[in-house]
């Protein structure tokens, strides 16, 4: 009998745990399926270079609950308010220290508001997601804008900011939305144009190069693909490796494809190919051309053969040591190499060159933005936004630019000397693209498991250009069919 009782008890507990697992609150709205692309039309480049366009199609976002009526934070916050901020930075990083100083200054100005910062590092979004599931209250977070758009934002966790962005900036007589570098605010807006993210760090993806080495070889930054190849030949002849690459970072390698296609067909074409449910768009000759052009860089020795085994940061270190000339990467590179380059090392950056017959502009820019997002469940979104309004002053943005040596999203702020070319490129950008032409934010699984895998295969010589195109077409069709 006793045995039976024990068995019953164990079975009962197991059932109870299953019931607990099945339980929960009312279901949230179902995520929209990705929009079908009926006709993958070519995307034309902007006619006027100065015109700034909202680039890739906005990310799809679940409809959040109706936001509360916007009140001025000072009026809304009558009693003490405690905000919780989960950060993508580690506490000892320069960016974290700047944000901590912002928090202290903000708290001094708003004695009734305190901000508790949790420094999680780069896995922040993953930790936030788990914490939200367990009921932890978090008011705002920050992360790379692309994964944030494809992650928490697409899950309906972002608080809509459009009304709040109409509030005046704290240091200029204009709405806050107008102080941002053009188009960065809209880059990751929802499908209906709603803005959920406040980008504050702006990384430009360009060829970052050793100016001294270019001068020594006697070459100038190229503007066309032919010039680019000629510059690489000259550098190679002078005894240097023209290009540094990492073999293990797919999101660096994919920049060659993103830019080549954008220069040939205009921004939006790569994203349209990703969205093509038939996979047929991958048979467009531009993908074969981009693959062949990239492999040619290896075949001509512009990328040293040994790079096929470089694990980050082995590739970029060759640039820091003066053995290679440039790397296609974000504007964080000069900071990452600051400890190993010579004191007189001069950084330059140039945009990916144009390709023959292409309709894309050389000014079109792939940006890697870092952004804050107020969470939809925040009990104090206006106070959280007040903090974000506070950090967007020129003074605060300049502090970030100076202390962390990063680009920022506030117009009129001077970037550090090492990334001055990045600032100029950001200011001149016609169209700003998200990672992989915006596909990372919209279709992360496709990008990670198909595009990155196959492009890496091509990039490192495991696939021929023809195999790459055929595999992409087949895998894309399979992916969407399933």
């Amino acid at each position: 009998m006793h045995k039976k009782y024990w068995m019953l008890l164990v079975i009962g507990l197991l059932f109870a745990s299953l019931l607990v697992a099945c339980g929960g609150t009312a279901p949230a709205p179902v995520a929209d399926a990705p929009a079908e692309v009926a006709e993958p039309a070519e995307v034309e480049a902007p006619a006027e270079p100065a015109e700034v366009e909202a680039p890739a199609e906005p990310a799809e976002v679940e409809a959040p609950a109706e936001p509360a009526e916007v009140e001025a934070p000072a009026e809304a916050a009558e009693g003490p308010v405690e905000l919780t901020y989960w950060s993508m930075w580690n506490e000892n990083e320069a960016q974290a220290q700047v944000i901590q100083s912002w928090i202290e200054a903000f708290e001094a100005e708003h004695p009734n508001i305190s901000i508790d910062a949790v420094w999680n590092g780069r896995q922040n979004q993953t930790l936030v997601r788990t914490a939200l599931e367990s009921g932890t209250k978090i008011d705002f977070v920050d992360q790379d804008a692309d994964p944030l758009a494809g992650g928490l934002m697409s899950e309906g966790q972002g608080y809509p900011l459009d009304d709040l962005l109409d509030m005046p900036a704290l240091d200029e007589d204009m709405p806050l939305r107008d102080v941002f570098t053009p188009s960065v605010l809209e880059l990751f807006a929802g499908q209906d144009g709603t803005i959920y993210q406040i980008p504050y760090v702006y990384n430009t993806v360009q060829f970052w190069y050793n100016k001294g080495l270019f001068e020594e070889v006697g070459v100038e930054p190229p503007t066309t693909w032919e010039e680019f190849l000629a510059v690489n030949d000259a550098i190679l002849e002078a005894g240097y490796a023209p290009l540094a690459v990492e073999s293990d970072i797919a999101f660096y390698q994919i920049d060659f494809l993103t830019y080549y296609v954008a220069r040939a067909k205009g921004p939006g074409f790569l994203k349209a190919a990703v969205e093509d449910k038939t996979g047929e768009m991958w048979n467009d000759p531009i993908f074969l051309e981009a693959a062949q052009a990239t492999r040619e860089l290896w075949d001509r020795g512009h990328i040293p053969a040994e790079s096929v085994g470089f694990l980050w940061p082995a590739g970029q270190q060759t640039l820091g040591f003066g053995e290679s000339a440039m790397e296609l990467v974000g504007s964080w590179l000069p900071i990452e190499l600051a400890d190993i380059v010579e004191e007189d090392f001069e950084w330059g950056a140039f945009n990916f060159p144009t390709v023959e017959g292409g309709i894309g502009s050389q000014d079109d820019m792939q940006a890697v933005l870092l952004a804050f997002m107020i969470l939809n469940d925040s009990e104090n979104p206006e106070e959280a936004f007040e903090f974000l309004r506070f950090i967007m002053t020129k003074e605060n943005m300049q502090q970030m630019a100076d202390a962390a040596l990063v680009g920022v999203t506030r117009e009129g702020v001077q970037w550090a000397d090492a990334i001055a070319d990045g600032a100029e490129a950001a200011a001149n950008a016609n169209t700003v693209m998200g990672l992989s032409d915006g596909a990372v934010a919209l279709y992360p699984e496709f990008v990670n498991n198909i595009l990155y895998v196959n492009w890496r295969g091509l990039f490192l010589g495991e696939l021929t250009p023809e195999e790459f195109v055929a595999t992409m077409a087949a895998d894309a069709a399979d992916y969407w069919a399933n």
């Binding site: 697992a21 949230a28 179902v30 790379d144 293990d248 797919a250 470089f310």
Partner: protein, 295 residues
């Protein structure tokens, strides 16, 4: 002294509750999630039955990760135990500095994984790596030009590092077992003219059988859920060539830089891993069960 059943039950209750809360409940929850299309946020779950499991069968990356895991389990395990036995035999001989050698071989187990991955990425660096420089110095100039971390070699390069790490742990387990074998057995065998090899297979292995069984089971569990080193081996993000089942589970369920967030699918991978572990352990327990050896 007779202890009442109530007292026994009361003593077992805390551990049972912990087991229930931290193992049985998450396991049941994982099984439950595996039947859903679920991102892990909110309660937006769509019941899809066994679709996640059906998808696993045709998922090339999952199959690759399983292949890698099985190679680590079988081939890696074979080499680890071969080396662990070899070191055990060597250290049980009259070699001087036994404790120092034992400590040196065990050291990787007390170093943080991230430090080990950094160390190995420098060892394999194609330009100034320790391995290629050593090979070149030894006269193997062609071999010294090998890029050990290129796509078709990186898994094997990682496997070597894993073997290096785990050999020390299993060697210490085996050494602890050999320490308990009475020295008289070896002395008697010597008098009878037994060789070192004969003594190893006729005395050491049979007397160590229980330890070997436990060690093999421990390795199997560790290999089937191995995560840290493969995840960190390639610095910023794992590459498909080094995916293990646990790494792929993490990529699909929790995201790396790309927020895939398919917790339902990741749960199916977890269930698959659990089933694999159970099958392997049951098989091993049956295969390795022998009558206790007594002399």
């Amino acid at each position: 002294m007779k202890v009442s059943r109530g007292f026994i039950a009361a003593m077992l209750l805390p551990a049972s509750l912990l087991y229930l809360v931290f193992f049985l409940f998450p396991t049941a929850q994982t099984l439950y999630f595996s039947f859903f299309d679920f991102s892990g946020l909110g309660n937006d779950k769509v019941f899809i039955g066994l679709d996640n499991f059906a998808e696993l069968v045709g998922d090339d990356l999952f199959l690759l990760s399983m292949r890698n895991t099985i190679i680590i389990l079988l081939f890696g395990g074979l080499l680890i135990f071969a080396l662990a036995f070899m070191f055990t035999a060597l250290l049980n001989s009259d070699v001087r500095g036994r404790r120092i050698f034992r400590a040196i071989i065990f050291i990787p187990n007390v170093i943080a994984t991230i430090a080990l991955t950094t160390l190995w990425s420098y060892i394999y660096n194609p330009r100034f790596g320790l391995l290629n420089n050593a090979l070149t110095q030894l006269g193997f100039e062609e071999l010294g030009k090998t890029t050990w971390t290129e796509p078709d070699k990186i898994f094997w390069a990682m496997l070597v590092a894993l073997i290096w790490i785990f050999v020390g742990f299993y060697m210490v387990l085996l050494l602890a077992g050999t320490d308990k074998i009475p020295i008289e057995y070896y002395e008697a065998a010597k008098l009878d003219g037994a060789s070192q090899v004969q003594m190893f297979f006729r005395i050491t292995v049979p007397m160590l059988w229980d330890v070997i069984t436990v060690a093999v089971v421990m390795w199997s569990i560790a290999a089937l859920k191995i995560f840290e080193f493969p995840f960190a081996f390639t610095s910023l993000e794992p590459v498909p060539e080094t995916y293990t089942s646990a790494v792929y589970l993490y990529v699909m369920g929790f995201g790396q830089r790309t927020p895939i967030y398919r917790l339902g699918y990741a749960s199916a991978i977890g269930v698959w891993m659990l089933i694999t572990v159970i099958i392997v352990i049951v098989f091993l327990r049956r295969a390795l069960t022998r009558e206790a050896v007594q002399y």
